[in-house]
Amino acid sequence: MDFLTLLQVLDSTVRLATPLLLACLAGLYSERAGVFDIGLEGKMLAAAFLSAGVAYVTGSVWLGLFAGIAASVALSAIHGLASITFRGNQLISGVAINFLAAGLTVLIAQNWFKQGGRTPSLIGGGRWENITLPFAETLSGVPVLGPIYAELISGHSLLVYVAFAMVPLTWWILFRTRFGLRLRAVGEAPEAVDTAGVSVVGLRFAAVGICGILCGIAGSYLATGLQAGFVKDMTAGRGFIALAALIFAKWRPWYALGACLLFGLLQAVALRYQNIDLGGVVIPVQVMDALPYILTVVILAGFVGKAIPPRAGGEPYVKER
């Protein structure tokens, strides 16, 4: 493999890791606050559809982004209502959201665009443009570092940079701000938050809301950045891979970056080399697709350290006597 191929694979890794990273951080906020969310997939899908639809109709990728976020936040609100206000089962609510999104997106798309449940391809202003960072052209002649800067770091769409900037920002919010302290506390011991005179419900809704926004950005990126339009089930399990990455990352922002890059790399390799020939043994592409899940099982089995979820995760908070 030559240097340029390597760069191309890594470049594709960055693109593919972006939606994973956004969804993973979305899940991180929600689960750190004690609300498990397996509806990441559904929220991304809804966002992907609505952002593509609105971007096509209005020709504005920004309006598309906002519509995508709105769709995702609306589903978050349902999840919050079901699992926080009415203390329902968080897993069931999440599953319901996934089904709802999978069905509704295709139904509305067919009704709206009559193209078999997809949106028309986006052109021009309907898609995110790649940003060329300053001096990318001039520096590309510099050996090694030049191509890395020009190919790998420069030339992505705005949302990619947003996603990567979210990592330090999330770390800072979680560990350096009052909001972060309370958010982490409410996922570990909501009764401590409650007796300290802080609203458990308010905090959890805030976390679920942030989760909705980030999932919205992730879905919009899929339909208006990575691809040019919405197709049926285009999230293709990314929401679940993001959840796997979240466990892999032990619910920590920087680890999440590492996990998402790793899973992005696996996807990039699978995309570029359909079947990998290792001198006689051919690894089929399905193995690469399954690797994130296999790695997660290995983690959960405790081979690579222990992943301890937030203690109050998955449980609705009921005041006890």
């Binding site: 350096r176 009052r178 972060g180 506390a185 570990e188 409650d194 005179g197 802080v198 006597r321």
Partner: protein, 515 residues
């Protein structure tokens, strides 16, 4: 502060949960700078009353006055700003946060943490010096002992500038030494003019530290008296509504043959922690051996191993016969068959199936006995009749064997378990925490049953975290600490202080008690 205006005054507080009247027209005045005890049995309404004061529940009727001002307390935030701090029985701490983080949670200064943390560090240092409340500010809660965790709870309240501190059953989880330290802290707080409400069911604590005591029974405040003008006997009578015997009436033991011989018993739990580190003891017929110790020092593991639901190594002989400690023949029913009855520590999880009826619960563990079978099926009539007899003999109330176990009070649940195990006439009876969460009236009855069994020549292994209970019942006392037996003592020749030191792992108690 004006000494004639009460720090807290409650007027006519009432609260009902459905048909249950938890608090009935309760009025109370707590003077500033005093320690006011509230005593009452489980379910008397103490915790409900305090939850109303801390804004967890809204009272149906009644008024709250703080330092003479009428105050509404709709939520915890309002209670905190009214200067009320609460130390719950089950601590409200974030386990993987540091002490500092727990202290500032909800009382942060501004949006960023840096300022709050450095301010809290300073304040904590002051408080530590002022009140003997030292805790490492950077330690994680999960690494702290229970006593230190409780200090963090008190620090949390003081950091929020609480003038009124409510403590709910604060000594339940503490060693005697830790409890003494807590009382010193409370003394210091009182000297500084803080007002303290102490909720407890332990008469000794009330007599030791409070200035005034209020007694609650069935949702009502039955009396408020000066501690110096009352006695434990009078308080017990006020709590229960009739005269109770606080001392257990028993003759000296007449120990017979060795029934149970335990040698070098070792047990490692599921987390790989060695819970029993070589326990050796003998148990004779006609004696009660009390195992004292702070919860979590291996007593539970000992009961589980002997009761047949945890594996171990070492040797256990019953009447000279070796019992298997793992593999076939080491389970609970084999132990019961061999003649070892077991009243487990946790009656809700191990002693009963709460959703099952009393008659079903009355045969668990013995449900394979021939007398309960009718061909392939169970003989429900026989089981019911059997249960009705047990209920009558053990005075279970209500005497209705069709009620689910969860509908009985703690004391009556315990009577069901005791009836099941005792009526099978075991040679050895293991009893864990026989009176935990049991009201005083029932305690009297349960203690009498245990002594009766001893007088019939049975061997009884009693595990209890209540030292008073150990002293009242035991003919011999063994103290456990960290999976080992620190020593055996004769109850007539030892005292709470010596046992307290043993429970904390100090072995040369003679020296320690002189120096």
């Amino acid at each position: 502060m004006n000494d004639t205006v009460p720090a807290i005054e409650l007027k006519g507080i009432s609260k009902a949960f459905g048909p249950v009247q938890a608090n009935k027209d309760i009025s109370i005045r707590v003077m500033p700078g005093t320690i006011h005890g509230i005593i009452g049995e489980n379910g008397a309404g103490k915790s409900t009353l305090m939850s109303i004061l801390y804004g967890f529940y809204k009272a149906d009727a009644g008024e709250i006055y703080i330092s003479g001002r009428k105050t509404d307390i709709p939520d915890s935030q309002a209670a905190i700003s009214a200067g009320i701090g609460m130390v719950f029985q089950h601590f409200k701490l974030v386990q993987n946060f540091t002490v500092l983080e727990n202290v500032i949670l909800g009382a942060e200064e501004g949006g960023l943490l840096n300022n709050s943390l450095s301010k809290a560090r300073k304040v904590l240092k002051q408080l530590a010096e002022e009140y003997e409340l030292s805790v490492d500010p950077d330690a994680l809660i999960e690494d702290l002992s229970v006593g230190h965790q409780q200090r963090v709870e008190i620090l949390k309240a003081l950091y929020r500038q609480a003038d009124i501190l409510i403590l709910d059953e604060p000594t339940g989880v503490l060693t005697p030494a830790e409890a003494d330290h807590l009382f010193r802290i409370l003394d210091n707080l009182r000297a500084e003019g803080k007002t303290i409400i102490l909720i407890t069911h332990k008469l000794r604590e009330i007599m030791e530290i409070t200035d005034t005591v209020s007694v609650m029974r069935r949702g009502e405040m039955t009396a408020t008296v000066k501690t110096s003008e009352t006695s434990p006997e009078e308080l017990a009578e006020l709590m229960v509504g009739r005269k109770v015997l606080l001392r257990v009436d028993k003759k000296p033991a007449t120990p017979g043959e060795k029934l149970l011989e335990i040698k070098d018993l070792r047990h490692v739990d599921d987390h790989g922690v060695e819970r029993l580190k070589g326990i050796s003891l003998d148990l004779r017929a006609g004696e009660i051996l009390g195992i004292a110790g702070v919860a979590g020092n291996g007593q539970s593991a000992l009961l589980e191993v002997l009761g047949g639901y945890a594996d171990a190594t070492g040797s256990v002989k019953l009447r000279g016969q070796e019992l298997p400690l793992s593999g076939p023949g080491s389970d609970g029913s084999a132990r019961r068959e061999a003649g070892i009855g077991h009243v487990p520590e946790d009656r809700h999880h191990e002693g009963l199936i709460l959703d099952y009826t009393a008659w079903e619960n009355a045969i668990f563990g013995y449900h394979r006995d021939a007398q309960y079978q009718k061909g392939l099926l169970m003989d429900h009539d026989a089981i019911r009749k059997d249960a009705e007899g047990k209920i009558e003999r053990f005075d279970v109330r209500p005497a209705n064997c069709n009620l689910a176990a969860k509908n009985f009070s703690g004391g009556n649940q315990q009577k069901i378990v005791l009836a099941r195990e005792i009526e099978r006439n075991p040679d050895v009876l293991l009893i864990g925490q026989p009176t935990r969460g049991v009201d005083i009236g029932a305690i009297e009855f349960i203690h009498q049953q245990i002594v009766r069994l001893r007088d019939e020549g049975k061997a009884i292994l009693l595990v209890s975290v209540e030292l008073d209970e150990i002293f009242a019942l035991s003919d011999r006392i063994a103290v456990m600490f960290d999976g080992q037996i620190m020593g055996f003592r004769d109850p007539a020749e030892t005292d709470q202080r010596e046992l307290g030191l043993l429970m904390a792992g100090v072995t040369n108690t003679k020296e320690a008690s002189h120096g």
